[in-house]
């Protein structure tokens, strides 16, 4: 039997996915993820709470941002759903009325998991560089670290990687100090023997 010719994924393919299934189109390929597992979803919520207060609501911080959880971003031919994204309000003064956002965010946060880390650190990060998303945060809820990079002349520079031990300030939210331990919704697992 002849193999069907490979074609690039289309937005129609994404719309045809069942309810509750997340899809992304990255360099012409469709990637499907089920809803995130509880630790992942809870970490997304925790970061949103910590950052949203000072930077969206202006409580204990300067405000001036919008945030969305798993927004559908249309960046050129790509359709991405970062775990959290933020926009400075001067770049996007009103929220879109469409089901998607085609203004590139100023910040994204990806919560890493084994099935997505390859794409998060690889193809998606290359797309973020192309669209000038300057300070992606990578949060690993199981290994308990937060990695912050900055885009300099098209290349990623590692700003720092934080663990539970320290209070930290990291771009683009350096106006407020955070404790990484506050981002974790669950206490650390007991040490494993392997």
């Amino acid at each position: 039997m002849a193999e069907p010719a490979k074609r690039n994924a289309t937005y129609g393919d994404l719309l045809a996915l069942p309810e509750g299934v997340r899809g992304e189109i990255i360099f012409g390929s469709l990637y499907v993820e089920p809803s995130p597992a509880p630790p992942h979803g809870s970490a997304q919520f925790s970061i949103s709470v910590e950052i949203g207060g000072p930077f969206q609501k202006g409580r204990g911080g300067p405000g001036g941002w919008w945030f969305m959880i798993t927004p559908e971003l249309h960046l050129g031919p790509h359709v991405l759903q970062p775990d959290i994204a933020g926009w400075r309000r001067e770049r996007m003064p009103t929220l879109p009325t469409t089901a998607y956002v085609d203004t590139a965010p100023d910040w994204v946060c990806e919560v890493l998991s084994p099935s997505t880390e390859g794409r998060d650190r690889g193809a998606k990060r290359r797309i973020y560089a192309t669209y000038g998303i300057g300070h992606p945060w990578y949060l690993h809820p199981v290994e308990r670290y937060l990695e912050v990079s900055a885009l300099r002349e098209g290349s990623w520079v590692l700003i720092d990687t934080f663990d539970d031990a320290t209070e930290f300030r990291a771009p683009p939210f350096e106006a407020v100090a955070f404790r990484l331990a506050d981002l974790w919704p669950i206490p650390p697992a007991p040490p494993s023997s392997t």
Partner: protein
């Protein structure tokens, strides 16, 4: 159970660590992790295997390097046990036959590769970056056999720059070994089943 040490760790503390653990002294703290699991040790063996031919022996490549597998490094007051490390040959003293050899190397490498595992990832991404920068190591590769990702970092202008990231069956042409491009599958074989999460476009 290891006794908690509240003073700066000493070499004697490291020697007292049981054989089944790997011990390091980083910023005055004794830290241990289990010996690599089979997936991790295979990745380290493959990396050495892929690089030694062209870059150490000089077959199919320019040579000029010396690699060591799990060496004990004494860098200042730190005792570091990386998975794989490499030195440009002119920077390591020749070992004369018949002479006594120290059990450790105190010349900082030109290149480290750490194989990420759950027990080491946080330290590989935090403490090790800081320490290697202090000792002017210019090249750091992080390879994760579980996610099948290779990250290549280079230290310049006071910061670690992500040079490139490789996954799947990408061709790796990464400093300092860009002279011999090779498929990532030389370091990390592809799994037999289809990559998790991938679905073909609907027809």
């Amino acid at each position: 159970m290891l006794e908690h040490i509240s003073r700066p760790a000493a070499y004697a503390d490291l020697v007292a660590v049981p054989e089944h653990l790997v011990a390091e002294i980083l910023y005055d703290e004794l830290v241990t992790h289990p010996r690599p699991n089979p997936r991790g040790s295979r990745a380290a063996a493959r990396i050495m295997g892929a690089l030694v031919g062209p870059f150490d022996i000089g077959v199919g490549g320019p040579g000029g390097w010396i690699f060591h597998d799990e060496p004990e490094l004494h860098l200042g007051s730190h005792v570091v046990a990386p998975d794989v490390a490499g030195w440009r040959v002119e920077r390591l003293p020749e070992i004369e036959p018949g002479t006594d050899v120290d059990a450790f190397i105190d010349t900082p490498p030109d290149w480290f590769c750490e194989v990420i595992s759950p027990s080491t990832e946080r330290r590989d991404r935090t403490t090790k970056f800081k320490l290697y920068a202090e000792f002017h190591v210019r090249h750091y590769w992080l390879i994760n056999p579980a996610t099948r990702v290779l990250e290549v970092y280079a230290h310049c202008d006071g910061a670690w720059m992500l040079v490139s990231t490789y996954s799947g069956d990408d061709t790796v042409a990464a400093p300092p070994f860009e002279a011999c491009p090779m498929p990532l599958t030389h370091f990390l074989p592809l799994p037999k089943r289809a990559t998790e999460g991938e679905e073909p476009p609907h027809g």
